[in-house]
């Protein structure tokens, strides 16, 4: 059971949050997400990291730590804040989820560009853990190591060489002529956009909330 009154009171706020990002979303979908949120938080107002870590299906995911951290990352709340929160409310939860909405086919080119930037920003924040605005070699190495972490005993050297090669590729494409003593600090957001321009983020990084109905969620009790 969820707190229906509380939900209705804030519904307009929730719709506003998601609409800010040029998405349209139905009330049905917000309701579903709210139900899920209540289920995860055990009917409390806020979710903590433990609540998310308790989800069994996430155990097989090699990057679960990064995903969970992303939820509590203040940078993803679009408020120019840095750091991380200990607990998040439904609004913040929705804010993070809104990064995964597909783009309307009626959106203009500008809107598509903005959406794409936003999604890339989310990814960038996931990699840039110390929030200095660039992804350094060490951070990238961590990313690759985490990706390969579930595949059995992988030598760190292999992960390292892959990360090094990837970094080299970024450097070569973005700054093709560097003097021998120059140092490529790390991947900035512009470079990040550049190397991923082959992937259509607007459509790839999205989840179909459409077919999410209460029946597919493993809620304890369904409410009307």
């Amino acid at each position: 059971m969820y707190n229906y009154k509380h939900y209705c009171k804030n519904l307009h706020k929730y719709i506003h949050i998601v609409d800010v990002c040029f998405f349209t979303v139905s009330q049905e979908q917000i309701k579903n997400l709210y139900q899920r949120f209540q289920q995860l938080s055990g009917n409390h107002e806020k979710i903590s990291r433990d609540d998310l870590e308790r989800i069994p299906a996430l155990n097989n995911n090699p990057i679960r730590k990064q995903i969970i951290t992303a939820f509590f990352d203040k940078r993803n709340q679009h408020q120019n804040d840095v750091g991380s929160l200990d607990e998040i409310g439904f609004e913040q939860f929705l804010m993070v989820m809104s990064h995964f909405r597909p783009v309307n086919s009626t959106a203009t080119e500008e809107e598509k560009v903005t959406v794409r930037k936003q999604k890339l920003r989310f990814l960038f924040n996931m990699h840039d853990t110390d929030n200095d605005g660039i992804i350094t070699l060490d951070e990238y190495r961590t990313v690759v190591e985490e990706l390969l972490s579930q595949s059995g005993a992988i030598e760190t050297e292999v992960a390292r060489s892959i990360a090094d090669a990837a970094m080299l590729e970024v450097a070569s494409t973005n700054v093709p002529h560097m003097a021998p003593d120059d140092f490529y600090e790390g991947i900035t957001f512009e470079h990040f956009e550049q190397i991923l321009k082959g992937i259509e983020m607007e459509s790839r990084m999205s989840i179909r909330f459409l077919d999410m109905n209460t029946a597919t969620m493993r809620c304890g009790k369904l409410s009307s």
Partner: protein, 751 residues
């Protein structure tokens, strides 16, 4: 101007001479068609006669016996004709830009058929048996084996919708409308009943994979549209098969009962799912077999071909969908087989498939042209024209309707431009003709055949020729030149996991959730059974990385010299990327690298031994190319090593010095530097080292330090050319400063 004109006219005359030569010999060959029956008996007589008369006459120094080799001779002539045509079109560039190859081939077929008919012979018709058993499978296998899985699975819903519902709609619309047309008195077609019309509809409505491939390949359209139309053309085979047999059966009884219809629906599921099942079984067996083929690498490609062909034939035994079986077999088999077979076998498979499908494709179109000239025709203006019109109309309506429905479920919606291309790309081809040819002989058959041929001609000529300018006009997105980038690969995988995670947090069992489950199932159970050795545990990112390295190494070999290394397009080296203050990686190079390097060196050692062995036809010796690839890989790895751990680089002044041997020694020492903690290990048995892919097996403990020293002398010779490559490379990596301050660490030699 003059020399150009002269050369082009020369080419044309040459081509024409070739043509006439071929036609002449065929005319000569088909002359014997008439005397087929008698030739069998006379052959015996002539042989015995020759023997008996040998005693009386002089021994015939030169005799002529054509009957003996007639069939293979004619087949070869036809194939040669097809190949010359293909060659000819590419030599004459102007025509092939405007007209797609398939049109030209049909035209040539018409010519050939005309010539044969003019000489008074009956030109051969595209025999349905020949088509379905020999000409079609290579094309489908080629398509299925190289089917791009990601876009296919992402759009599978839309593809199935178009293939099943779209084809059904086409069948009933065309069948119904043609029946209505037949009722018009002016057409004099009252004898054509509803069932025959429906049968006709089922033959003509299926989009043909051969034609689609032939035309779409030349226009380089974007991946989404290509996979939609092409996938549809492959998967509609099940519907076609079921409806064709259904209506053919009922044409006898002149009526469809309700039970008949229900059985038809059940039959549809049996045909399609059964076909897929047969393909999957053969695919798994094939993958399992490939696990053991390391013992005899030469026959590896044959397993791939034979298993796939058997899948097709087995499905055809039970009247299941052979095409779906073939596709399923190829798709299932491919990832496991590719992990198991050697690089050479992989290249062989790829090129044989391309070759066979190319020849088949050419032959099919030529035969279509010949059959047009040959077959008895019943031309009925109204019937034919209305068929063409209704085919177009039903296709357009079907596409629009289905897209409107599917767009509700798609993330990437299909625009009007996309819909137009999909509708326009619904080409008919030889499958329709062959199915029509299999009908029972009666007057309706000729009527249908004529209409079918007209539709095929219309789609291939008109739609095929105009689609390219239309694509340009509508500015449809073209195929992206995919440059394989390791960053994209990393992020594709990252995104997959991220989206799966988000779906899990939402509690939403979506697309990614199931894909992830399937991947994990694949990794834990299936791969272990079907992939040999250690490759089964290799994660995808690493295989991708290895593939890229191999590709670059091969590019190096093929470009002839190390000077053309494509990777170095910028002056950025890993030194620019690694922080100055970053902790140096440990001195020992990774175990896997060491192992690979040792294997390569061992292989080269083996090469010098093997070259002394006598040549055996059934053994694969390490030939020069494989050596080059191994060495190129070795070079590449060493280069990467050098770029990544800069202090391992020999300082500039030392590299420039001529005495190769000295440099070589030092490099050797650098390569074989071990931590003291490594325990010695016995030498592994020299396995078949011609398999480059084996280089990436799980790293084993490094060898004893003494063995490289012993090998050094033997390996000096093959490594010399290696050094020159290295010298060139290092001199290019002029990012190296002078003598490295950390160079004193190099002096710690082997214990």
């Amino acid at each position: 101007m003059d020399p150009i004109r002269r050369s082009s006219t020369l080419r044309l005359t040459g081509l024409l001479c070739l043509l006439f030569l071929v036609f002449f010999s065929r005319g000569f060959a088909s002359h014997d068609v008439v005397s087929e029956k008698s030739s069998g008996t006379t052959q015996e007589d002539s042989r015995s006669q020759a023997n008996s008369t040998a005693h009386k006459k002089t021994f015939p120094v030169l005799s002529f016996n054509y009957e003996h080799v007639r069939t293979p001779f004619e087949i070869s002539l036809w194939i040669l004709l097809a190949l010359f045509m293909k060659l000819g079109f590419h030599i004459i560039p102007t025509v092939s830009h405007i007209v797609p190859e398939s049109c030209l081939l049909i035209f040539v077929g018409l010519l050939v058929g005309g010539i044969i008919k003019a000489t008074g012979e009956q030109p051969p018709i595209l025999d349905s048996n020949l088509f379905f058993l020999y000409l079609l499978p290579p094309i489908i296998l080629d398509a299925g084996y190289f089917l791009p899985m990601r876009p296919f699975t992402e759009n599978i819903g839309t593809i199935l919708m178009f293939a099943m519902v779209g084809t059904l709609w086409n069948v009933f619309f065309i069948g119904g409308m043609m029946y209505a047309v037949c009722q018009i008195d002016a057409a004099k077609l009252a004898h054509v009943d509803l069932l025959s019309c429906l049968l006709f509809g089922s033959i003509i409505s299926a989009v043909d994979p051969v034609s689609v491939l032939a035309v779409f390949e030349e226009i380089h359209i974007n991946e989404l549209l290509h996979i939609l139309v092409f996938g549809e053309s492959l998967l509609n085979d099940a519907v076609t098969v079921v409806l064709y047999h259904l209506f053919k059966e009922f044409a006898h009884e002149q009526a469809i009962t309700v039970t008949g219809a229900v059985l038809g629906v059940i039959s549809f599921f049996v045909v399609s799912l059964g076909g897929v099942m047969v393909g999957v079984i053969y695919g798994i067996v094939g993958a399992f077999t490939s696990r053991f083929t390391s013992y005899s690498r030469v026959i590896e490609p044959l397993f791939v071909f034979l298993y796939s062909y058997m899948a097709y034939l087995s499905a055809e035994i039970f009247h299941l969908s052979g095409i779906m079986s073939l596709i399923a077999c190829g798709v299932i088999m491919r990832p496991y087989v590719e992990a198991n077979i050697s690089h050479k076998s992989y290249t062989t498979v790829k090129y044989f498939l391309k070759m066979w499908s190319s020849v088949s494709d050419t032959l099919i179109f030529i035969f279509l042209g010949v059959s047009t000239v040959a077959g008895p025709h019943t031309w009925n203006w109204i019937f034919v024209i209305f068929t063409v019109i209704f085919c177009l109309v039903s296709r357009v309506l079907g596409v629009i309707g289905l897209t409107a429905f599917m767009n509700k479920f798609r993330i990437v919606k299909l625009t009007k431009k996309d819909q137009f291309i999909i509708a326009y790309g619904g080409l008919r081809g030889a499958i329709a003709f062959s199915l029509g040819f299999l009908l029972n002989n009666n007057e309706i058959k000729n009527l249908f055949l004529t209409a079918i041929i007209t539709v095929i001609f219309f789609t291939v000529f008109v739609q095929g020729m105009t689609i390219r300018p239309l694509v340009e006009l509508l500015a449809v997105k073209k195929k992206k030149e995919s440059k394989e980038s390791i960053n994209e690969e990393i992020h594709t995988q990252f995104l997959d996991h991220l989206l799966t995670g988000i779906e899990d947090i939402c509690g939403h069992y979506g697309h990614h959730h199931w894909k992830d489950k399937l991947n994990r199932f694949n990794k834990t159970y299936v791969k272990r059974w079907l992939i040999a050795g250690e490759r089964s545990t290799e994660p995808q990112l690493i295989s991708f990385y290895n593939k890229m390295e191999l590709k670059q190494a091969m590019m190096m070999v093929e470009s002839g010299s190390a000077a053309k290394l494509p990777t170095i397009v910028s002056t950025v080296s890993i030194r620019n990327v690694q922080a100055k203050g970053s902790p140096k990686p440990s001195r020992a190079i990774s175990k896997s690298r060491e192992e690979e390097i040792r294997r390569v060196l061992r292989a080269n050692l083996q090469n010098t031994r093997q070259r002394l062995r006598s040549y055996s036809r059934y053994e694969l010796l390490n030939d020069a190319l494989e050596d080059d690839i191994s060495e190129a890989r070795f070079r590449k790895q060493k280069e990467m090593e050098r770029r990544m751990s800069h202090y391992l680089t020999v300082p500039a002044n030392r590299q420039e010095t001529p005495p190769v041997r000295k440099v070589f020694f030092q490099q050797e020492h650098k390569v074989y530097t071990y931590d003291d903690s490594e325990s010695p290990r016995g030498r592994a048995s020299p396995s078949c080292a011609d398999d480059v892919s084996e280089l990436k097996e799980t790293p084993e403990k490094p060898d004893q330090s003494s063995t490289p020293r012993a090998n050094r002398d033997a390996e000096l010779k093959p490594k010399e050319q290696d050094d020159q490559g290295d010298q060139l490379k290092v001199s290019r990596c002029l990012s190296d400063p002078g003598p490295n301050p950390e160079d004193d660490e190099d002096s710690t030699f082997l214990p």
